[in-house]
């Protein structure tokens, strides 16, 4: 089981966390984007092989939503940090 460093609590078993998916910021004015672009935003993910920015929630801990950079090919977490304006 992976150890994930919560920016508040330090390294904890990944089972304490909820995965929140890859970071894909919401368009700031949804009405300004086309139907296709909106559909992409809702349903499409990059599913990157490599370093991915993603959300984690320290559910059984401090309740923090934070960001992690994780290499999806090796499952190594490079760093975790607090979000700034959703990214």
């Amino acid at each position: 089981m992976l150890l994930l460093p919560c920016p508040n609590c330090g390294p904890r078993n990944v089972a304490e966390f909820r995965y929140g998916g890859e970071v894909h910021p919401r368009p700031s004015d949804p009405m300004a984007v086309t139907d296709d672009a909106w559909t992409d935003f809702i349903y499409m993910r990059a599913n990157k092989a490599g370093v991915q920015k993603e959300w984690w929630y320290h559910r059984s801990g401090c309740g923090l939503w934070f960001l992690a950079e994780r290499d999806t090919t090796t499952n190594t977490v490079l760093r975790t940090y607090l979000p700034r304006n959703g990214r």
Binding site: M1, R18, G86
Partner: protein
């Protein structure tokens, strides 16, 4: 626990005598029992082979527990041991005819035999089920008691042999907190069995050194099942699964002795040198009367000398080397055959004699020349490193021409290897232990590997002698089967593995992985290095599912009134982790009480959130499809939440308690998810000036509902409850029965009702006071079932029952709850599109026309399609008999055009016959809502 005098146990229906310290296998060997099991496919007799837990031969059933390795389990008084896979008995196994039929069970028979004729398959299946499989799971066995424990260590050492002990002691001396795991009942590994005089002394010294280290914990009969990220190790110890987190891991798992490949190499009486030495020196048991030793290294000579010393006749020693290849010792009375190997074994049931053959210059065995009667053949023909855990940990493992084996080349951070697992005979394990401690304590990177000039492990010989030579004892795969698989086109190692099932049995490749590489290489004509290795995966040894599952524990949430409910005959219902009253005996009476007098329900399970701060109005307006930001102080409003797909997430009410304080409820089931959802949006950027606190467990909550609700409540408070002072959809805070409460005038049930939230600790007091005050008005507590009927009479939806992951508010008939004139909110963009495309399905009410029938929830709604056959056009999500209305009503999804026509009749498909129903719009009961506003 362990007895210190001899005792009795049973095997295959007979009683035998065991000595203290015996394993099941050593006790049976002591009593001359040689056949322990029957093989998986051909039902050939099998006996003790490795005595080290590495092969499938000694799997037995102990009481209700199948697949116990007899050589690893200490025998206990009165233990009842049964052989497996033998029918009707071990000595006379009818299934052994399969052995003569082997040409009908070719390699890959799983995929090609028994397929035709199809009609015979059920017969084949019954036969195969009896023939295959290991052990019996008795369905009558009570569920076992299993445990789960967590353990942390700076350094974990896997393997308690000489190297493991040395590494563990050194790491502990360096100040690390060390945990040592060994799968055998006793520590010491090969020191227990070599019989060398110095070994016992060395073992005692190491154990003494370990014992004085308070920071060294040793676990025996503890099997490390695998390696997972960040040094997370599942360890099975009896019925307990230890979950171990280490900072550094030293793998000192040693090596697996390998069998030789010659016809009948599986006859009971053929044992690996380690098994012979364990019986001799570990248990004082003579493994046979007349032995032949075959070897390709010096160990065979040592074992021969030990057998002689124990009084066993050694008839011959065959050494595959030439006379100058090894250090010959004097073995009085033993005929030595240099440059010879065993060409075949013979015997019915057990070994009677072996044929020796000289080796040709190319290393093939020539025609057998000598037949030597014996009941024991000792195979001392090399070992292969037990590096599966290193492989799992990400070590680079490659073929080393010099050593003649696949050995570890490079280790990942925090992983160390000590002893024979490296492919060499020993090395400085203490230095490795110190390195591991330094890594764990200082997080220093792995140092350069210590130059190791220890001699290489003797490499096994994998050249098969033609005939039925078993490579894989688990699955009865022969050397010829592997050649056949390659000839049939399965020409890579991974394909051979899957087709022939070699390495896929209970031994997990310990006895056969290396051999299958060599045989595949030979058959494909590729180099060993290019043939590669198969992926090592957890678990390293078979593990009972119960051990993985652990104890069956589930958190349970009880409301503050739980005990009261149970005392008053409530039938409890599981709702997520909560237990809630379904009813108190008569749900119909409960419904009628609410409609005609007054009722009280415990709704403490609702999610409850406190929001504070100046940013809350804007935040709520973005999260709800309804308008929330302009909610005045003292008011309550229904709220509906959707996600950006436009799918309904949850609903509840929000009360504004003060200028900067809001109180929001969520549905019971979604409480946690909605809290996380709100937190996400708040923390991800929309939360300036917003504070969210989950206060679900701080408050007890009840709904007092019915025409008499005001009168009951008034008896317990001085607050003005008149409709003018406290109207519908308002919130007030006042004392009830002396307890400060927040009271919300809302009406899920359709009657005048007060939702009372009070500090959880006073819940029982307020609840009982309300029931007492209500007695004169005919009050009844009611449960979830009555509430479902009451809300259905009002056609209120339940999120998750009437809606699913595809339901949007417009289709669910809640367009009134979507405020398109608000600025951006979650779901708006998608709902604009839904609106412009028009609805396909709609959630709508129905009344049942067929008398006497209440259709079950989940039934399908059908209509004839073009060719006159019924097609599914919708489904029922809620359905109840309404005692108030005297007929069955419900909610269902229908095509939008049909749903739009009140009174339109449709058909619900039901096994007992079709049910007619008609579309109904709006609440079934009190459509104007006069009662709840009154």
């Amino acid at each position: 626990m362990t007895p210190d005098t001899p005792f009795d146990f049973a095997f295959a229906g007979r009683v035998y005598r065991a000595q203290p310290g015996d394993t099941i296998a050593s006790a049976l060997a002591r009593n001359g029992v040689r056949v322990l099991s029957r093989s998986f496919k051909y039902h050939r007799p099998r006996g003790l082979l490795c005595a080290a837990g590495h092969c499938p031969n000694c799997l037995v059933q102990v009481g209700d527990e199948p697949n116990v390795r007899a050589c690893m389990r200490l025998v206990e008084p009165e233990m009842v041991v049964e052989p497996q896979n033998a029918w009707p008995s071990l000595g006379f196994d009818l299934m052994a005819v399969v052995g003569w039929l082997d040409r009908f069970l070719p390699v890959g028979f799983y995929y090609k035999a028994f397929i035709r004729p199809r009609a015979l398959w059920p017969w084949f299946e019954r036969f195969l089920r009896r023939a295959a499989g290991l052990g019996r799971v008795r369905s009558t066995t009570p569920p076992g008691h299993t445990l789960k424990k967590y353990l942390h260590a700076d350094v974990v050492v896997i393997g308690g042999g000489r190297s493991g002990l040395q590494a563990a002691i050194a790491a502990a001396r360096a100040g690390a907190d060390v945990a040592l795991f060994d799968e055998h009942p006793t520590l010491g590994g090969r020191l227990n069995i070599t019989g060398e005089e110095t070994a016992a002394a060395e073992r005692a010294a190491l154990l003494a050194q370990a014992a004085v280290q308070p920071n060294l914990r040793a676990y025996t009969q503890a099997t490390v099942l695998g390696w997972f990220e960040d040094h997370w190790l599942p360890v099975m110890q009896g019925n307990c699964l230890l979950k171990v987190r280490a900072k550094a891991v030293v793998v000192a798992t040693g090596a697996y002795e390998q069998p030789l490949l010659f016809p009948n190499n599986d006859l009971p009486g053929i044992m690996l040198a380690g098994a012979v030495r364990r019986l001799l020196h570990g248990h004082g048991v003579k493994p046979g009367k007349r032995a032949v030793v075959v070897t390709n290294n010096d160990e065979g000579w040592a074992v021969a000398a030990e057998l002689l010393a124990a009084g066993v006749t050694v008839a011959a020693l065959a050494d595959t080397r030439l006379p100058d290849g090894g250090s010959a010792r004097a073995l009085p009375g033993v005929t030595v055959f240099w440059g010879h190997t065993v060409a075949r074994g013979e015997g019915r049931g057990t070994l009677r004699r072996v044929w020796l053959a000289p080796l040709t210059e190319g290393g093939e065995s020539a025609r057998p020349t000598q037949a030597i009667p014996c009941d024991l053949l000792v195979v001392a023909a090399g070992s292969t490193p037990a590096n599966g855990l290193l492989y799992q940990a990400g070590a680079r493992i490659a073929y080393d021409e010099g050593i003649g084996q696949f050995v570890v080349q490079e280790l990942p951070p925090g992983v160390f290897a000590a002893g024979r697992v490296t492919g060499r005979m020993g090395g400085d394990a203490a230095a490795i232990g110190r390195q591991a401690a330094a890594f764990a304590l200082g997080e220093t990177p792995n140092p350069a590997p210590i130059a190791d000039d220890a001699p290489a492990l003797p490499a096994p010989c994998y050249r098969p002698t033609p005939g039925k030579a078993f490579v894989c004892f688990c699955e009865d795969v022969t050397a010829k089967d592997i050649a056949t698989a390659v000839a049939e086109g399965f020409d890579s190692l991974e394909l051979v593995k899957r087709y022939a099932t070699v390495t896929m049995g209970p031994c997990q490749g310990k006895m056969c992985a290396a051999a299958s590489i060599h045989l595949t290489a030979a058959a494909t004509g590729r180099a060993i290095a290019a043939t590669g290795v198969t992926t090592a995966r957890p678990p390293m040894t078979p593990v009972p599912l119960g051990v993985l599952a652990g104890p069956h524990l589930e958190p349970l949430r009880r409301t503050p009134l739980d005990e009261w409910h149970r005392r008053h005959g409530a039938r409890m219902l599981v709702a997520g982790l909560w237990h809630r009253p379904e009813h108190y005996g008569d749900p119909t009476a409960e419904v009628l009480a609410v409609r005609q007098a007054v009722g009280l329900i415990d709704v403490s399970t609702l999610g409850k959130l406190r929001l504070t701060g100046p940013g809350v109005p804007a935040f709520l307006d973005r999260l709800y499809t309804t308008r929330m930001g302009d909610l005045p102080v003292g008011r309550v409003r229904y709220g509906l939440m959707a996600n950006d797909e436009g799918v309904i997430l949850d609903d509840g009410v929000t009360a504004r308690l003060g200028e900067q304080e809001w109180y929001t409820t969520t549905t019971t089931g979604n409480a946690e998810a909605i809290y996380e959802w709100l937190q996400w949006w708040a923390q991800a950027g929309w939360g300036q000036g917003v504070h969210i606190t989950d206060v679900t467990e701080d408050f007890a909550a009840f709904n007092l509902a019915g025409p008499q609700a005001r009168a009951v409540l008034q008896a317990l408070t001085t607050a003005d409850l008149s409709n003018e002072a406290f109207p519908y959809l308002h919130v007030r805070q006042f004392d009830i029965a002396g307890v400060p409460c927040r009271v919300l005038r809302i009406g899920f049930t359709g009657e005048l009702s007060y939702e009372i939230h009070c500090p959880a600790g006073f819940g029982l007091h307020v609840w009982e006071a309300l029931l007492e005050a209500g007695a004169a008005f005919g009050i009844r507590p009611f449960g979830v079932e009555a509430q479902r009927v009451l809300r259905l009479e009002k056609a209120h939806i339940i999120i998750g029952q009437d809606t699913d992951a595809m339901s949007d508010p417009l289709s669910a008939g809640m367009a009134w709850a979507v405020k398109f004139d608000k600025a951006d909110f979650l779901g708006r963009r998608s709902l604009v599109r839904v609106n412009s495309l028009g609805l396909r399905q709609r959630l709508v009410g129905f009344e049942v026309l067929t008398p006497g029938v209440t259709p079950e929830e989940g039934l399908q709604i059908v209509a004839p399609n073009g060719d006159g056959r019924p097609a599914i056009i919708g489904w029922v999500t809620s359905s109840r008999y309404s005692p108030t209305l005297g007929r069955a009503i419900g909610l269902c999804w229908l095509p939008a055009d049909l749903a739009a026509r009140p009174g339109a009749v449709f058909t619900i498909h039901r096994d007992a016959g079709p049910v007619q129903a008609r579309v109904h719009h709006g609440p079934f009961y009190d459509p104007t809502g006069a009662r709840l506003r009154g």
